[in-house]
Symmetry: C2
Subunit: 250 residues, 2 copies
DNA sequence: TAGTGGTCTAGACCACTTC
DNA sequence: AAGTGGTCTAGACCACTAG
């Protein structure tokens, strides 16, 4: 493992500016391996001891890096088995990325019906949110999602086409983040949602089977890949008469 | 420090059932001290070394307990200075408990105008949410809150009266969690919010100066004290035409 | 039984704040 | 200079899983 400053050859930290703990440098390396696909979603990592000796670092330093990444839901650790790159299975989606819960009854994964899927040049607003330029293309999807057979939300999803090369518009799975990671090695690890209450317009009203003007919960989500690139913009319009958005504050 | 099982006298963990790491027992003790008021909000804790020798535990074990509590925003650590019980100053409220953000412009702390404050017997729904029984009393507050002079939300707050003994209905401060901790030693550390989109009724419409039926964001929050007791139920009806609820998913 | 992560300890040194 | 938290190391042992 190299020094943590830019110029010295020992382990002594430099001045206040630019100091970065060793375990964070280790974490950066691990995240880079995930971003590059060296470690794919669901795959097991080498053991702490192996990683430590590979990097010429103590096991405790490797552990601290792995613990941080586990706390951020990038890795999953299982005592006695090993450390794995967190995969986007339905359980993780429900736990981390799907906050719409039935008022009574258990959390469930919604069905999806795709109503539109196209590849086209990005609109200005999409370029803005996704950090695209000029003539960059996006994949745009619209779909309606149901819980227990009842439509609960309609959403529009936009992702940069170059991050998902050769994506087949025809076959959009229910679990998109699983597709991103399994097929394109793009691992979504973080998202930010902005929520508003809005009145249903004609399209939402028709798709959800409610009158125009019905209050809907609008969820505007931007999702980032492990390497920090914005990878998807999604706006969901949700019926909340029998569901709610669950947010834990701590 | 005692053993971590219930019956043995050494440090050897027992069977799988009932095993609890030493650092969690240490954390439990620390949380108890906060709940009892031994360590009040804003107060500095003894140093890691002092705590370790007091409990006959290594510094590393104390550190792990303190780190966990810091991650949960119960403590604040400042290198070179010490470890403090997190106080409910405006900065913490904004960071942890107030998620309504202007669409453009910086996050700010809202003003409040109390429109009603009474002490009365708890309603059945309130007993249910707050874990009260029989003739337990509550303090109920209604207020309107503004950002930049514009009313953005109206909320109803209900708290068990016995947790806030002798609370003066007359003087309700803007920052309620600060009052709870400073005056009654009740430290709120966690909350859960359920969000829905609803139509403004006559009262909300009048208080917020919008037509009836305007979509509002309803935030139903239950807040817990450090000892796990539900300490406040709050329902906020928010105008989201120029603000949004910010939720980070990771 | 072997190998993994999880806990606990002890000690050295660094970064930061205060006096 | 002294005291705090932060980092890094090394080693022992425990809990859990799998063969």
């Amino acid at each position: 493992m190299a020094d943590r400053t830019s110029s010295e050859d020992d382990r002594r930290p430099g001045r206040t500016v630019g100091f970065r703990p060793l375990y964070r440098q280790v974490r950066d390396m691990f995240e880079q391996r995930i971003a590059e696909g060296t470690w794919a979603a669901g795959q097991i990592l080498p053991s702490e001891m192996q990683l430590a000796s590979e990097l010429s670092v103590s096991q405790g330093t490797v552990r601290k890096a792995l613990d941080e990444m586990t706390a951020d839901n990038i890795l999953v650790r299982r005592q006695g088995r090993g450390t794995y790159v967190a995969s986007h299975d339905e359980k993780r989606i429900l736990f981390q990325f799907f906050k719409l819960t039935p008022d009574d009854g258990p959390l469930r994964f919604p069905d999806s019906v795709v109503t539109e899927a196209v590849r086209r040049v990005a609109l200005p607003s999409e370029r803005d949110r996704l950090g695209l330029t000029g003539t960059d293309e996006v994949v745009a999807i619209e779909r309606t999602r149901s819980l227990s057979g009842e439509p609960v939300l309609v959403e529009r999803i936009v992702a940069p086409a170059d991050a998902l090369p050769g994506i087949e518009i025809g076959e959009i799975p229910n679990n998109l983040y699983g597709l991103y990671s399994e097929r394109y090695g793009v691992v979504v690890v973080r998202a930010q949602e902005k929520l508003k209450a809005v009145a249903a317009g004609p399209r939402e009203a028709a798709a959800l089977g409610v009158p125009e003007g019905t209050p809907l919960l609008a969820i505007d989500r931007l999702a980032w890949s492990v390497d920090g690139r914005p990878i998807e913009w999604r706006v969901s319009m949700c019926l909340t008469d029998r569901h709610h958005y669950l947010s834990d504050l701590k």
